[in-house]
């Protein structure tokens, strides 16, 4: 009996020792138009199309994984997936933990949306997604920050009147404002210096592969076309 158990354990340990070429891409799946879950329950959006194209160019086999925004960096570090592609802006604070590829969107704007005009953006209550450049900015402006685990929750807080305005990437708020559920308030803020893919610091080879693929997409103009198609006509493109 003991032997059976032992050999079963050994088998479990040895099973599937084949080579692993598949790259797992981690995303949030809750940040349209960058990434969201479509009607079939699949990851879709700008980053889905971009990621698939990058993998094709780098000749990698890729698989999509969704993960909560809050724990998206820790799960990369512990190896649950190999890269983050989740609308994550490149910041110095994040660079301390992970390495970024070159940016695949140019510096872009963040905007405020609210139910009515005349919201006090510096003294009021502003909703934003936690651990984002936007939530950091709200703190810096001196407004009261209401943090939520997802963009959807922060939007709902504004619609329910809990917060005076919601602050997020402009591209994310565009569909909401176009539908008429909210309106722009205040000025756009040039906050993001660009969005990049995140990699483990110990994984420079994979980062180099994606870097090359992103560069080639910038060069032949396909990246700009993709940005215009998926992020909106007004979204900034590369020169």
């Amino acid at each position: 009996m003991k032997n059976i158990l032992l050999s079963a354990a050994a088998l479990a340990l040895l099973a599937g020792a084949a080579s692993a070429d598949t790259i797992r891409l981690g995303t949030e799946g809750a940040y349209p138009p960058y990434n969201y879950i479509d009607d079939n329950g699949e990851v879709a959006g700008f980053e889905r199309v971009l990621g698939d194209e990058l993998c094709a160019r780098a000749e990698l086999e890729c698989e999509w994984v969704t993960n909560d925004w809050d724990s998206i960096i820790p799960n990369l570090l512990s190896g649950n997936y190999d890269a983050i592609i989740a609308g994550m802006s490149i910041t110095d604070a994040r660079k301390e933990k992970i390495d970024f590829s070159q940016n695949y969107t140019p510096p872009s704007y963040s905007s405020y949306a609210a139910m009515s005009d005349g919201v006090d953006l510096e003294g009021g209550v502003i909703a934003a997604q936690a651990s984002t450049i936007q939530s950091q900015h709200v703190v810096d402006t001196g407004a009261t920050l209401l943090e939520f685990p997802s963009f959807e929750d922060s939007l709902a807080a504004m619609l329910a009147g809990e917060a005076d305005a919601v602050f997020a990437d402009k591209d994310t708020l565009v569909p909401v404002v176009e539908e008429g559920t909210a309106m722009w308030v205040g000025e756009d803020v040039a906050l993001s210096i660009g969005i990049g893919m995140g990699f483990r610091k110990s994984d420079p080879e994979l980062r180099a592969k994606f870097d090359t693929a992103i560069a080639s997409m910038k060069e032949d103009g396909t990246l700009n076309e993709m940005i215009l198609e998926y992020l909106g006509e007004d979204s900034p493109v590369f020169e």
């Binding site: 080579s19 692993a20 790259i23 799960n75 570090l77 190896g79 709902a156 569909p175 539908e179 610091k201």
Partner: protein, 270 residues
């Protein structure tokens, strides 16, 4: 659809976890009565530590530790020629063959693996509580029963299995039924472990859908979805209550307790 399948996930989790937790609990309770001092200490330590640590902390810490522990062991076995350190800064790096499950494995294996980790964690947490309940139940078995067993010449082992265990259940059941209810309601913690359960899908499907991204645009419907979940959990706990009260009745039959005595009298009167 994934939403409906996730109800199955929750039910499956309960179906697997409950017996496993009961097993852990029984083991711990029996261990705490053991005459071997290390076994006794280990059982008591297990119950004390796990009951004392907040569920969420345990879920976040233990699952990551277990996952990394398994991968570390596989790494030692499979990749003896690996010359890089496993901990590089804040990265946890093992060789590709040691990954659990393999990177190339289809997504479904990753989900099964996550689910298995969840089951084990739930079982360990609830096993500790069940262990305490069962240990208390052992103590509640009337001493006269044990003395009688000894008078009949039963060994310690026979006394335990033939006298203590059958009578213990009737004392343990109220506590265990409480735990079962708590377990049902604790299943949304699955989401913390990355398993896509009913709460995840209610959030995802109920969230605002703008026409650009879906064929079925709607506003924020999460309230309705969560109301549906409320009904589901309420019905489920109600059904559990009915079943548990039947089991209680069955177990009380012929026992030297007030309930057993009442049943005996009612039976005699009829």
């Amino acid at each position: 659809m994934s939403f409906y399948a996730s109800f199955g996930t929750v039910l499956l989790l309960l179906a697997v976890t409950a017996p496993l937790a009961l097993g852990f609990g029984f083991g711990a309770a029996a261990g705490s009565r053991s005459h071997l001092v290390p076994v006794k200490w280990l059982s008591n330590l297990y119950m004390a530590i796990v009951r004392g640590v907040p569920d969420i902390a345990f879920f976040l810490f233990f699952v990551i530790a277990l996952d990394q522990g398994l991968e570390w062991m596989r790494h030692q076995v499979l990749c003896s020629d690996w010359d890089q350190p496993i901990r590089q800064g804040n990265d946890f790096v093992v060789c590709a063959a040691a990954k659990l499950p393999q990177n190339s494995a289809p997504e479904v294996y990753h989900q099964i693996y996550g689910f298995a980790l969840a089951v084990l964690t739930f079982a360990i947490v609830f096993g500790a509580f069940a262990g305490n309940v069962i240990a208390g139940a052992f103590k509640a078995v009337p001493h006269g029963q044990i003395e009688t067993a000894e008078a009949y010449g039963m060994t310690k082992r026979q006394t335990f299995w033939r006298i203590m265990v059958p009578q213990m259940w009737t004392y343990a059941l109220p506590g265990l039924s409480n735990l079962w209810m708590v377990l049902i309601k604790a299943t949304p913690l699955l989401f913390l472990l990355g398993v896509e359960d009913v709460v995840y899908w209610a959030k995802e499907l109920g969230g605002t859908k703008t026409a650009r991204f879906t064929d079925y645009p709607h506003g924020d419907w999460r309230m309705y979805y969560f109301f549906g979940l409320l009904v589901f959990y309420l019905l489920f706990t109600k059904v559990s209550e009915v079943v548990l009260s039947r089991i209680t009745r069955k177990l009380s039959h012929g026992q030297a307790t007030a309930a057993g005595e009442a049943m005996r009298k009612a039976g005699a009167g009829a």
